[in-house]
């Protein structure tokens, strides 16, 4: 079964510094990859997605992620963070050939804590 690993449960970073949130998935089959953000007491918002094509994906709020098939990774990056980026970030994966279920499997989440 597909699984997603986010090794860092919390990433503290100073404002305007760069940040990378790591995500690895288990399966080598063709997959769709997603990053979602959840601000405190709010729902999930899609940051970006990789379905096919260019391995470098750009999303909202200045975030980008790079799909690396050989390393089964999809790390999220931002060159300069703001206080407002403080939130929980979830990596998620779905098998490309989802068949009857098209399940979206989530990682455990990474809390990005931006400090002034």
């Amino acid at each position: 079964a597909q699984s997603v690993t986010q090794l860092d449960s919390q990433v503290p970073v100073f404002e305007e510094a760069p940040v990378e949130l790591r995500c690895n998935y288990s399966s080598s089959v063709s997959v769709y990859l997603f990053w979602y953000v959840q601000y405190p007491n709010q729902g999930l918002q899609l940051l970006l997605k990789y379905l096919s094509g260019s391995t470098l994906v750009k999303g909202i709020n200045g975030f980008e992620a790079e799909f690396n098939k050989s390393q089964t990774s999809f790390h999220l990056r931002k060159p300069s963070v703001h206080i407002s980026d403080t939130a929980e970030y979830f990596c998620a994966v779905r098998d490309h050939y989802g068949g009857a279920t098209n399940k979206l499997i989530f990682g455990t989440g990474t809390l990005l804590a931006v400090q002034p």
Partner: protein, 116 residues
């Protein structure tokens, strides 16, 4: 894109009672998904709901505890039965929209359930 409306947004319930959560999508979708997010944790898939058939439950979740209805292509309900404090969580519904070349999972805002 899709808009998913969920209600209630929050509730406080007595142990031993049941709560039914409603989820309405503004377009027809084949499958709808129900997730649970326990405090401070990630999203765990409870079940997949197809219109016209019984829901498919993930390991650790059973129909007697979480009965699901899917009467049409835009609506689903999840009931949390015989509640205990351990059921205190955020429950979210989700649906995929778009084509295989441009697909995305949308989420409702969630139902924040507290069992006392």
């Amino acid at each position: 894109s899709a808009v998913i409306s969920q209600k209630p947004s929050r509730d406080i319930c007595q142990r031993g009672t049941s709560l039914t959560i409603q989820c309405q999508v503004d377009s027809q979708v084949t499958m709808m998904f129900w997730y649970r997010q326990q405090p401070g944790q990630s999203l765990t898939l409870i079940a997949t709901a197809n219109q016209g058939s019984e829901a498919t439950y993930e390991s650790g979740f059973v129909i007697d505890k979480f009965p699901i209805s899917r009467p049409n292509l835009t609506f689903s309900t999840l009931t949390v039965s015989n509640m205990s404090p351990e059921d205190s969580s955020i429950y979210l519904c989700s649906a995929w929209t778009g084509t295989s070349m441009n697909t995305e999972a949308f989420f409702g805002q969630g139902t924040r359930l507290t069992v006392v």
